[in-house]
């Protein structure tokens, strides 16, 4: 006997099963390349194309080879340095600009903001050559400055993120601070900054990941090995050791690990960033 309640339950079970099947399918599509790389990093060179995920004799030595073939620690240090500098700069300048666009009253504020936001639509490939010329004029090509300074002073995305967050804070707090004698800088620093920590986390994580994964800009700017980033190291390896796929896979996995660490540490900020802005990074 199947009553109406039973039918409803059955329908919701079917729906849940279908939903989870679809989600598992999508997750598999996203994860498979990474799993394949992990598997490949443990295979032998001749066995790289074998269609199995679990090699019979895992070649852990592939990981050791990475360290002998590229200056991994050096490049890791460089990448961390660039990522940290750019992240600090982004957080500081974007939050300042976001505060100004959200709260300070000045002529042409909203127009300026829209114009600034419009720069989001210009892809990096369009500006990369002018930026290169600019860096060359400063004499910064092939120096760490080229990796740090252009990203230091904020971005339209980060400013937008911060502005939206500032707009959610009650104006009462600032007015109370004004009456308590605070200057705009003191309001920003002492009153508002402690409240925008969630947005700061989001921006910091997104920026960090962005710099970590960036490839085009370092490729254009950097030639010296001792100031190169990990992404560059990986590509150079591909050129020099084109046949050693397992080692390349091992290098890829190694580069991915710190990112997974950051993700694990700041997963909530990450998810919040995506829900807050509607897009996961730039």
């Amino acid at each position: 006997m199947s009553g109406p309640t039973e039918r409803v339950i059955k329908r919701s079970v079917v729906r849940a099963v279908a939903l989870y099947a679809a989600l598992i399918g999508m997750a598999w599509c996203a994860l498979f390349p990474i799993l394949w790389a992990l598997s490949g990093s443990l295979k032998t060179e001749p066995g790289i194309a074998e269609p199995n995920l679990f090699p019979a004799h895992p070649q852990w030595s592939n990981y050791a080879r990475v360290f002998s073939l590229m200056p991994f620690w050096r490049m890791l240090g460089n990448t961390v340095l660039y990522a940290c500098c750019v992240t600090l700069g982004q957080v500081f300048f974007c939050s300042l600009a976001g505060y100004a666009f959200a709260r300070l009253r000045f002529r042409g504020r909203d127009t300026l903001f829209v114009l600034y936001l419009a720069t989001l639509m210009v892809p990096l490939t369009v500006t990369v050559i002018p930026q290169f010329i600019l860096m060359r004029a400063f004499g910064w090509t092939d120096t760490p400055w080229a990796m740090i300074v252009p990203g230091l002073f904020g971005s339209a995305f980060g400013t937008y993120l911060m502005r939206q967050f500032f707009l959610t804070l009650p104006t009462d707090l600032e007015e109370a601070a004004v009456l308590d004698g605070c200057s705009p800088w003191q309001i920003y620093w002492r009153i508002l900054l402690p409240h925008i920590r969630p947005a700061v986390m989001v921006l910091a994580v997104l920026t960090w990941v962005n710099v970590w994964n960036d490839f085009l800009w370092p490729l254009v700017m950097i030639q010296r090995r001792d100031i190169a980033t990990l992404t560059l190291g990986l590509v150079w390896m591909q050129g020099q050791y084109v046949s050693r796929w397992p080692v390349l896979m091992a290098a890829s996995i190694l580069i991915l690990l710190p990112l997974l660490g950051v993700y694990g540490f700041a997963q909530r900020a990450f998810v919040r960033g995506i829900t807050l802005t509607g897009f996961g990074g730039r």
């Binding site: 009650p170 009462d172 601070a177 308590d180 003191q186 409240h195």
Partner: protein, 359 residues
């Protein structure tokens, strides 16, 4: 301590046709507790913010202690504000909240501590000094907001509906505490509320605002007894004064069967008049206007009868509220006769002006 003066002060928000505060001319005396009251959107908060400097003044002047502060920075005005939502800094403890302004002013740490402690004693906040606002009850937060203002020892307190987030019982209690505190400190206070009970019980004087225009500024008693116009008459008092617009015939008006003489100076010049009768001035009796009772509201001490006037031709007409003695109030649906002492009636012109005050 200082007086606060509005001199034809006007504030018009950009893009609006009507001024939020229009040509406000008002002086708050040194040490006085002035309540600004009015319905929402009447400009009372704007007026307060003009004193604080949070709102620019489009024309006219603002004075504090005789000094023209119209173009002065908020922090130079020496006012302290208590916000409706208290606006406590969530990331600071109670003590830090209270001492923040002094810290910004770079006072010595010992002095800040002394003043915070003194204010905490005054407000019974000592046990909570190390807590954060989120760990406090609504009443405690309200006291912290007060404490933050007191610590500053400002020339003027500005309070923007500071009790509206408290529940009714706590509000009534805090109301009297706050008024007593103000009298003890003697600090000039401008207090904004939409609650006429607060206005009448707390203020030395009460200013009634409507659509940005000052209607009347007087002591609570004068406001109640001698409202300057129909708006004030209807706004102050709960339940509101009965206001009946009636034609004048033979020097009198007819409220149902009850004929009331209109003073000659009014009946000579007007064809219509608005008669105002406070609910408590009605007396149940064997003569007067017949009303059919729709609702009986028993409040314990008082009973209010909400009914409609029955005209001589039997039609049921305007609504009316009357206070009845508490012993045996009439039942719903019954018809009663009420009348009031003619000396206690208010007469207003149809444009709202007061023509004759009672008492």
């Amino acid at each position: 301590m200082a007086s606060v003066g509005f001199e034809h002060a006007t504030r018009r928000y950009p893009g609006t046709a009507r001024a939020a505060v229009h040509d406000l001319d008002l002086t708050v005396d040194d040490g006085e507790f002035l309540v600004v009251v009015g319905p929402s959107g009447c400009g009372k908060s704007t007026a307060l913010r003009m004193v604080a400097g949070l709102e620019p003044v489009d024309s006219g002047r603002i004075r504090i202690g005789g000094r023209d502060v119209t173009d002065t920075d908020p922090k130079e005005r020496d006012t302290a504000m208590v916000f409706q939502n208290y606006a406590l800094y969530p990331h600071m403890t109670v003590a830090q909240n209270m001492g923040f302004a002094l810290k910004i002013a770079k006072l010595p740490r010992a002095q800040i501590r002394d003043r915070v402690l003194a204010a905490a004693r005054l407000l019974d906040l000592q046990p909570y000094l190390d807590r954060r606002p989120k760990d406090l009850s609504g009443g405690q937060r309200q006291r912290v907001a007060m404490g933050r203002a007191i610590v500053r020892q400002p020339q003027v307190f500005l309070m923007d509906e500071p009790l509206s987030n408290l529940d009714a019982k706590l509000r009534a209690q805090t109301r009297s505490e706050l008024a007593a505190l103000q009298r003890r400190l003697g600090t000039t206070t401008v207090y904004v509320t939409h609650d006429q009970a607060e206005a009448l019980t707390m203020g030395d004087r009460v200013a009634v605002l409507r659509d940005g225009v000052l209607q009347q500024c007087a002591s609570p008693r004068a406001l109640y007894r001698e409202p300057a116009n129909v708006f004030v008459a209807g706004f102050i008092g709960s339940p509101a004064m009965n206001l009946l617009t009636l034609p004048i015939r033979d020097y009198s008006v007819a409220i149902g069967d009850w004929v009331v003489a209109v003073p000659r100076d009014i009946s000579d010049t007007a064809a219509q008049v608005v008669v105002g009768i406070r609910p408590e001035h009605f007396e149940l009796g064997s003569m007067g206007v017949e009303i059919e009772i729709d609702v009986v509201e028993e409040l314990g001490a008082d009973t209010y009868l909400y009914g409609r006037i029955i005209t001589p031709d039997g039609a049921i007409d305007q609504h009316i509220v009357a206070r009845a003695g508490w012993r045996d109030p009439p039942a719903r649906g019954s018809r009663i006769l009420v009348r009031a002492d003619p000396d206690r009636l208010h007469f207003f012109a149809t444009d709202g002006r007061c023509l004759r005050r009672s008492y």
